[in-house]
Symmetry: C2
Subunit: 243 residues, 2 copies
DNA sequence: GCAAAAGTGTTTAGGATACACCCATGA
DNA sequence: TCATGGGTGTATCCTAAACACTTTTGC
């Protein structure tokens, strides 16, 4: 037991961002190439240290979002993932990083006006398949972020955060398919989504044209939680062969 | 933008524990009465600062679990909830606390051999109903912990962590009822649980006797994730009155 | 007209729910 | 034997899934 003069050890607090978006039907994450050691030249999640002792953690996340990804804090989903603070995760000293998950709609330019010019969108499967190595424990953070996104799609209206202001039901379906990694029946999805009151609401009588019949446009409704959840297909535990 | 001589501000890292258990059909949380300022005399979650710069965060959680609650780290569910670090949450300085959720089986003695003798199990509704105020932002942490527990009961076998080594299906049902705050049909619950392969496995031909017909005993199986989830009853969004 | 995508109808199987009923034990 | 909780059977409702089919556009 420590004596009265004992003082707790200080740590350095960092923020890391997992910024996900949908580009050409597949899930992408924003990565930056590190310019300094440790891990110079390696791809890493955008992030940085607390700027001063009175800065809030989420405030720091918003700041990094602006500085490193040129993304506006508003009109963007941001939630905390957790703290990552293994004693040996950073050779510079005791660093604890609070990771955040951000969801952005598909953007025209990869990253416009980025602080670190080395920023780029990378398909998440490049990382999960081991073809792209990340600095620190960022692969673990990304894995946790994906799992968080997958389950949140089931219980909340998070999927609309991947879409722009207005969107079609088919676009919303692409979000579910990309994040869950499954194929869904467009006809059943169409009705399933519309049967949830307040999930999506019609956005004017406007249509949109690409090929085939134009689709109706919707915008995100006010509902944030989905009860009952939209359960994703998966290894069913109950359906056993029983013959 | 900071110059080259800029150094990130240090923070003090603490760990807080939300230890939940089931006592006489209702959910309880372990609280300690603070002996020192700030918030001296107020109930608070057990926790403390990192003991030294090389201690892992989860290691610190385990240590506090032992020191403050006399609970063995093994045979106990422990997971991180997240970081709580509002700049003004602790008047002593910049403190960031990493909160953990622990689930313990019902214990014979409230808390045996506790470091802080002021530790006690309190019904969670005493806090959520506002009849018991907590120090710092611990009410928020407790709220988040409860929500985490509720959703994890749906998708994982976490419920068994509330039970002792062997348990009956009725005991498992009490866990779901207490955490979700609902009543479930015992007959349907009985089959629903048993239809999930690997969730619970029979524990010998032993029975147990109280009143009425003895129940079969089970122990936790190897399965940790439930697919599809055990969806809790709630405000159904789809079932609208349509007459 | 034809291709392509949007949107609708309908059938079927499996799970959720409600509840009648039987079983095993203590007192 | 009765009360009490454990465990089984079963009918009904509802949803998910599969898929045939119609609609609306561009070319």
């Amino acid at each position: 037991m420590p004596d009265d003069s004992w003082e707790p050890p200080p740590v350095l607090l960092a923020v890391d961002l997992v910024i996900l978006t949908l580009r050409s039907m597949t899930l992408h994450v924003l990565l930056v190439e590190r310019g300094i050691d440790p891990y110079a030249g390696t791809q890493a999640l955008p992030g940085g240290f607390l700027s001063n002792a009175s800065e809030g953690i989420e405030t720091a996340a918003h700041r990094e979002l602006r500085e490193e990804a040129n993304l506006d804090a508003s009109r963007l989903h941001l939630e905390q993932l957790g703290a990552y603070g293994a004693p040996d995760r950073d050779p510079r000293g005791r660093v604890v990083s609070v990771a955040y998950l951000a969801i952005a709609p598909a953007l025209p330019v990869p990253v416009a006006g980025t602080d670190a010019a080395a920023a780029s969108w990378q398909p998440v499967h490049e990382v999960s398949l081991g073809r792209l190595k990340l600095a620190f424990d960022h692969e673990q953070i990304l894995t946790d972020a994906l799992e968080r996104a997958r389950t949140k799609l089931e219980r909340t209206s998070l999927a609309t955060a991947f879409c722009s202001e207005t969107f079609t039901i088919a676009e919303l379906q692409q979000v579910y398919e990309a994040v869950w990694g499954v194929r869904l029946d467009p006809r059943n999805f169409y009705r399933k989504i519309q049967r949830v009151p307040g999930f999506i609401v019609p956005a004017g009588p406007n249509q949109r044209t690409t090929k085939g019949r134009p689709a109706r446009l919707f915008r995100a409704g006010t509902r944030t939680t989905l009860h009952p959840p939209l359960v994703r297909p998966g290894p069913s535990t109950t359906n056993e062969v029983h013959t």
